[in-house]
Symmetry: C2
Subunit: 240 residues, 2 copies
């Protein structure tokens, strides 16, 4: 590569990176807004979330196209190639987080528009705080190329799974005690499920950040092995 091509390539990599961070920032905002529809009955925010979702979709396609062109034209290897392949995969996860936020906002609006009584949503609020933090942390880990920070997101996902199961049990008990709440509770179960899915996607992205930095694929090896790889220890495949 000439120095000029090299400089331009670096600028384009940086552009991919910053566009992905921008997309992630949108998704992070969407989760907060969707929860505001649910918790504070700010139903008009559902339209805001939906508009942002379109923008997230647009960014997904646009960034992916740039990645394809950069690989074809500049034929990057090693860490540059891993960055591009990682972002390409992370785009899919990030876009699906946006979808989930959009679903939450729509369901929450429908619940409020149908009227009906208050349902305690404290667990949902707690899970949503956790998964919002996971999204923020995976974006930080990506921006700083910090695999250790990424590994904390992988660990957090275990916590979110536990809380999702607890909130499911709680909502089932609630329905059984008062079958009139069945319809509403099903909606809340789907909202909880969407939040849990966002946690899964954040975990997937965190695994890609570790791959990007170390070149080791930590999918399906379990949290402890992931943490070891994140610290720079050799990859030993085993679940935990």
């Amino acid at each position: 590569m000439t120095e000029h091509t090299n400089k331009q390539f670096s600028a384009e990599l940086e552009n991919v990176r910053s566009s992905f961070l921008q997309m992630g920032g949108l998704v992070e905002a969407m989760i907060g807004e969707a929860m505001n529809v649910l918790v504070n009955k700010e139903v008009t925010l559902a339209d805001t979330v939906h508009d942002r979702e379109k923008e997230v979709n647009r960014l997904e396609v646009e960034i992916d196209e740039r990645i394809g062109l950069l690989i074809a034209r500049n034929q990057p290897t090693a860490v540059d190639l891993r960055l591009l392949l990682s972002v390409s995969k992370m785009l899919t996860d990030m876009e699906r987080c946006g979808d989930e936020a959009d679903k939450i906002a729509k369901m929450a609006r429908r619940m409020h528009e149908a009227g009906g009584q208050y349902i305690p949503a404290v667990e949902l609020r707690h899970i949503s705080t956790q998964v919002t933090n996971m999204i923020r942390n995976v974006l930080d880990a990506f921006a700083r190329e910090d695999p250790i920070h990424a590994a904390t997101v992988v660990r957090n996902d275990k916590e979110v799974d536990k809380e999702w199961k607890a909130s499911l049990r709680h909502l089932i008990t609630y329905m059984m005690e008062d079958p009139r709440t069945i319809s509403r509770s099903i909606d809340l179960i789907f909202i909880a499920r969407s939040l849990e899915r966002i946690g899964d996607h954040a975990k997937n992205m965190a695994e890609r950040v570790i791959y990007m930095v170390h070149g080791d694929d930590v999918r399906h090896i379990g949290v402890k092995a992931t943490e070891r790889v994140a610290r720079g220890e050799p990859l030993v495949k085993q679940g935990d």
Copy 2:
């Protein structure tokens, strides 16, 4: 590229392709087996599904590693690069289909082990037939590089979404009529949801097949526009 390198590269592309088809065949089998756990109470099949899921995970990581190496070493462009980038994305969707099948098998086994009465699962059986066909069709479309065939999978997903909503309404009615069925019905709702997710993943993969052949990204443009692109008409961005 020398002729030798070229031949070897072609063989390696073919190898990626056939490994992905093998992975897809496993997932297709898993869905059938998971439904057999549910419908025919063949609870021991849940272990088979779980073993296959491990194999699917292994294939995901292995194929993705080969794709990364091929891109780095051979610096493919155009259709070869699109094949590799498409398979890399499809791997993620296919692996998640395997996860969903594993979840279905586990939930179905738990339901049978808990005893309890029969619940009509005719709609679930119908949805599972549809999504199994979608997986088979997307694998065919991929193997034959047939974008028109892939577009039928995108259209089928609309049908599956409708059936999922119908089965959800049905199960909610069931719960309301007899609150003792709440727990079981929630399990069935999750099973239906997992099937619907498999349909979504099949749709995503079908979109990648169209990209692979035509180089146009048809995500988020709607079914009709997707069908036009599949027929080779120019990409015009609009939802439908």
